[in-house]
Subunit: 496 residues, 2 copies
């Protein structure tokens, strides 16, 4: 065995993205909050990492360059980077600058399974002590008004128990159902048919959550540099998935179907991605006329439109009846619907689906084999159970979410009268207008106060909506009440 | 509301790929079996669809072009296409030619959950009757020596029952654990550590099966037109996933690390993908020296190597001890290991993992959110249970697979003495040498005899290995015995 000759030059460090000083300044927007500049700058950068605007493993600009672009002293940027490092949100190495990272400690994503109430430090703790603790506390103990998944329906455990009774019939197989198991495909098809969209099981592909459905549609339809039209703002991970295959994502205002039509004519996109029901993040639903207009648009232009109906079941007001199905009569070869069990039942269930023309379903099913082969069988059996009990399950779930929405909306309106706090007729979040383009700074201040929220720019393809934040109302009432006070304090930090 | 003006030209048909006559001829290879040419041609095309060599929704060449390239009459190609249509494997439309599809009827992938033994027509049924039935029977009733997933371990049901007892602690959360739940990450890390690769939970990302791990590595490391080096042959869906992001896949012979080193120096790949243990499909394992050589190669060149250890647990011979971990002492920043619960426990469990440098894990975790957000929680709890009982579970599973391997290998050696039938020391399949480059024709003939096998070219980036087929031994002994006789008959059809 001959060892190979050394190769110049060995590149030992994993590849990272670079962010220029100018791009960093754009990303931070209006970052100055009250207090020392270096703390505000560190908070804004940390918040950008937490909200996903700044990807971990991004190399930040040099202290000198950033100071120059922001118009602050190099002492300020150096101190801000040092603080980021202390908090675990950056690492520096001689010769390779400062790189943004997520802290190594167990994160909020770790789901220990034993933590029920977050141990946020009391608001009246001495400032110095709180600053000391923040690094360790941020991720694990933030009140989470960022994540849009409610806790599980109480019916979940029983559904799994029944699913387990059905499992033995599958154990002699290899367990790979590339299109989904027959009973679930049939149950999903039946639901569409019952809603007035005649559907056969062959028109249904079971996916590993709605997120995979969007990623598959991107992989099958969108090649590098091809265009996808979306609403702006829209679902954050939707934008990400549509960009994953190199697509160019173009935004049009929510509900403005005339502009949508002109964008389609102008850009000839491969795909249009819409959230027609209780839109994330605005809560708006397309009217019946608007839906008909979109279907006519795609049938005339031959462009495929995806209607993401993940939130359809969550109509929170009595007068907000669930809108008519996006697919209309279900006959268009250009309309694809996406659905999910995550919001209706639980996010920890990873089951979604696509309803569309059979040929589209076949292409997606083929590509999904290179994604994850198939969706877990027991998960599918549990969702089959839950879909069968949907009408029993939903009223309590909707009532619960309605109460949480009202608590958050009323609380915010009272606590910060200057904000625009719309009450969404459905869905899981409030799209708050701050009245000033300070979303990044406010998000950073909120983290400092112990609350995770999502800055508006995360939801737009071009970093717009800097005067908006998205607040979810999926957490328990006591956490939402606590969060309202903290958010008001964070706002005072920003506005001085 | 103004309806938009009609747009010229409306393209109503979903996009399909086109396959030229020359490419079709290459794909078919030596397609002529015994019997009428149109039947052999139709069988070969159908087999190409079944084996995945010919993607559904591919537009086939015109009857005239194909006839010209194959040197047959147009009557033959027309009759072959007509038969494909009759069998449900093609559709034709005026003006848009003939398009390969998968049949609409419930497929083998549908997992009805109630079929235990396939109702293959008796071998002595009248030929005409069997031909009539084939279209409906092919997919639903083939003896499946194509899929490499055994039935579930008997311990699976109990593991899920125990997992269900642990589930309530998670139900108050949103259910999204982007890196995996803490207990499973710790259990996976402990297993590496116990095998001599010190590992912390932060170095582990739980994925939705090993397939997703490969797809994520492709998404993070491989941009369009960048190179990935793989063994040839190698895992079929691995090639697919690595090509999904536009990568160029280059093959080197299995176990030839010198050629691997020169390919790495020559092509400067972004990634090397290897199956070091009980390689799929050849069964070969890298020696300790070869492993050390590969680690030194990547540390010198800075190229990242992925060791897919999906089959590691399945050492079938007493003298085939599980090889030492591919990651060595686990300190290289360029070595990533992939593992899975699918082969050890069950394919219907969709849980795999990546073990690698923390920064790589963080990048993959971020990208996985646009793939499917997170892996299902109950699945992860069940795999945690199963990993804890691995030493109890494995002996019976291995003994079972060993008996099936021996049955298939001995049966094939006796039935077709001219074949090269190696007995693999581990894994799930036999890489049979036919002695002639007729894999496609044989695979087609096998389908006609009621057995699904995989043609060699599916496992190579360049369509080589036309003299090989892969046969899996995951099905019950009675099915394997039945299959051996059918495969011998299929071989006689091909060799006349």
């Amino acid at each position: 065995m001959t060892l190979i000759a050394p190769n110049p030059p060995a590149s030992a460090a994993p590849a990272v993205r670079h962010l220029s000083a100018a791009a960093t300044a754009r990303l931070l927007g209006h970052w100055r909050a009250g207090g020392p500049a270096y703390l505000a700058l560190a908070d804004a950068l940390r918040s950008a990492v937490l909200s996903g605007t700044l990807a971990p493993l991004t190399r930040l600009p040099s202290e000198r360059d950033l100071a120059s672009v922001l118009g602050v002293s190099r002492t300020t940027t150096a101190a801000a980077y040092a603080r980021l490092r202390d908090l675990g949100f950056a690492v520096s190495r001689v010769g390779s600058g400062t790189v943004a990272v997520l802290p190594r400690a167990s994160s909020a994503e770790g789901l220990s399974g034993h933590r029920t109430a977050p141990a946020v430090p009391a608001g009246d703790a001495p400032a110095a002590e709180r600053t000391e603790q923040e690094g360790a506390l941020d991720l694990a103990t933030q009140l989470d008004l960022g994540q849009a998944t409610p806790s599980a329906t109480p019916a979940l455990h029983a559904a799994f128990a029944r699913a387990l009774e059905s499992l033995p019939a599958f154990l002699a197989t290899g367990g790979y159902a590339h299109h989904g198991i027959d009973v679930l495909r049939a149950a999903i098809a039946d639901r569409y048919t019952a809603r007035g969209v005649p559907t056969t099981p062959d028109q249904v592909l079971v996916t590993t959550g709605a997120q995979q459905a969007i990623a598959l549609l991107a992989a099958v339809f969108v090649a590098p540099r091809e265009t996808v039209v979306v609403e702006s703002p829209t679902y954050f991970h939707g934008i990400e998935a549509l960009r994953q295959t190199g697509g160019r994502v173009v935004g049009v205002p929510v509900g403005d179907v005339e502009t949508l039509a002109s964008a389609v004519r102008r850009t000839r996109p491969r795909l249009v991605y819409l959230v027609p029901d209780f839109h994330n993040p605005t809560g708006r639903s397309l009217t019946a006329d608007e839906r008909a207009f979109v279907r006519e648009l795609v049938d005339r232009t031959g462009v495929t439109v995806v209607g993401d109906e993940t939130l359809t079941d969550l109509a929170l007001d009595d007068d907000a009846a669930v809108p008519a199905p996006f697919a209309g009569d279900g006959t268009s070869p250009h309309v694809v619907s996406v659905g999910s069990a995550s919001k209706t039942f639980w996010g920890g269930l990873r089951v979604g689906w696509v309803r569309g023309p059979e040929q589209v379903v076949q292409r997606l099913a083929r590509t999904r084999q290179s994604f994850d082969i198939a969706t877990a069988v027991l998960e599918q059996l549990a969702v089959t159970e839950l879909l069968g009990r949907r009408d029993e399950i939903l009223p309590a779930r909707v009532a619960d979410l309605r109460a949480r929405r009202d608590l958050l909306v009323d609380g915010l309106r009272a606590a910060v009268p200057g904000w625009d706090v719309p009450s969404p007729p459905g869905g899981l979040c409030v799209w708050v207008g701050l009245g000033r383009a300070v979303a990044q700074a406010f998000t950073a201040a909120a983290v400092a106060e112990g609350v995770r929220v999502s800055a508006g720019p995360s939801f737009t393809p071009d970093g717009a909506a800097r005067d908006r934040v998205r607040l979810t109302f999926t957490r328990p009432p006591e956490e939402l009440e606590d969060a309202v006070g903290r958010l008001a304090r964070a706002w005072r930090r920003v506005t001085g």
